[in-house]
């Protein structure tokens, strides 16, 4: 039953992903690829849409996947699932636990999770790079390098470096998305 599956999957995502936004992507990716709800390309498209629209990325992802798999009701259930753990956990902390952040055990647990989230984000980026740009996602795949992709990646790095040197500021994600959209249209049409 797809409705229950959507609800329970996003409930897990809401309960076990730390670090907000990008920190949640590794678990979202694992679940949506495992269920076959999105391909890697569709997932990346969706992250771009989530980045370019207002609101928390996880809520945007839940609504989109829910809608594509189970229509309006699916969207409601997936969104409810991703929000519910936050809601309950925060309610308990706000109502019952004073000085939650001061407990040594909580601090130690979070101290373990923080570096783990960094590792997860980096590993997710690297595996995504391998599966989209060099098409090598598991042992036994034959390399099929997307040279346009590599050039776009290099241009994005150069853009960041130039912006930092010239304006002392990193370009915003939306600007980077627009630049890469233009580059994509240009390079893949040639």
């Amino acid at each position: 039953m797809i409705y229950l599956e959507l609800f329970l999957t996003f409930l897990q995502i809401g309960a076990f992903s730390f670090g907000g936004g990008y920190g949640m992507i590794s678990l979202i990716r694992e679940k949506v690829l495992m269920h076959g709800w999105l391909t890697e390309e569709e997932l990346l498209n969706m992250i771009a849409v989530a980045e370019s629209t207002p609101g928390p990325i996880a809520v945007n992802m839940a609504t989109f996947v829910g809608s594509s798999q189970g229509g309006f009701l699916g969207a409601i259930l997936a969104t409810l699932g991703v929000v519910l753990p936050s809601f309950i956990i925060i309610l308990i902390i706000a109502a019952l636990i004073r000085n939650f952040m001061k407990y040594a055990g909580v601090k130690a647990f979070l101290g373990g999770i923080r570096p783990c989230v960094v590792g997860l984000i980096l590993a997710t980026a690297i595996t995504m790079f391998m599966s989209t740009v060099i098409r090598f996602s598991s042992i036994g795949d034959t390399l099929a390098i997307d040279f346009n992709g590599i050039i776009i990646f290099a241009i994005l790095i150069a853009t960041t470096v130039v912006a930092k040197l010239a304006f002392k500021k990193k370009p915003t994600p939306i600007l980077m998305i627009l630049i890469s959209a233009g580059l994509g249209m240009l390079m893949y049409s040639l």
């Binding site: 936004g21 678990l27 609101g55 570096p115 989230v117 960094v118 980096l122 598991s138 994005l156 049409s189």
Partner: protein, 192 residues
């Protein structure tokens, strides 16, 4: 009547924040502070810093965590529901609308090419977000070990198609944090 006015004000403020913040969690924390500490003065600055720390440390979207907490402090259980609903509704409506026509939009060749570029950009954005966090992290032996093990295991497991959920990495790392803390405590007690 005053109560209903309070609920309405909370709901509309959260709706506004949900509608106008791009870039997720951290951007939203800044907006929440502006609204609830500076403008409305519902929370003290110190209290808000606590809210932000809790929102970042508990699982789930940071903005939802913060909204639930602020709503609860404002008007209890009903307040937390209203705040959470308010901050979610704009995302939900916008993304639901997009989901209805995204496939048709992507079937245009030029749009598909644009999105091939965008996919690369998203990988780049995730990588830079990770590198930024890596830079800001204290380079203690514990942190370096956890980051390296997570990174290497996840890439190797993915190459060999071994199923090992992200949830286990999180729980194991948390357990390591607690274990190191307990060991340190035992050692200290022995010395005394």
């Amino acid at each position: 009547m005053n109560k209903i006015k309070g609920y309405l004000s909370l709901f509309l403020t959260m709706l506004k924040i949900g509608l106008f913040t791009f870039g997720g969690g951290y951007a939203m924390i800044a907006l929440l502070e502006n609204e609830f500490v500076e403008k409305k003065k519902w929370l003290e600055k110190d209290e808000f810093l606590d809210v932000a720390a809790i929102a970042e440390s508990t699982p789930g979207p940071i903005a939802i965590n913060a909204a639930t907490y602020i709503g609860y402090k404002n008007t209890g259980m009903i307040g937390s529901m209203i705040a959470t609903l308010g901050i979610c509704i704009p995302s939900f409506v916008i993304i639901y609308a997009i989901s209805l026509f995204l496939d048709a939009f992507l079937s245009l060749t030029l749009v598909a090419y644009a999105f091939k570029g965008i996919q690369i950009c998203v990988v780049y954005l995730i990588l830079t977000a990770g590198l930024k966090m890596l830079k800001q992290m204290k380079k203690t032996a514990f942190n370096i070990i956890i980051i390296s093990i997570t990174l290497i295991c996840m890439i190797v497991f993915s190459l060999f198609a071994v199923k090992f959920s992200t949830i286990f990495y999180i729980l194991l790392s948390g357990a390591c944090g607690v274990a190191v803390y307990l060991l340190g405590k035992i050692r200290k007690e022995k010395k005394q």
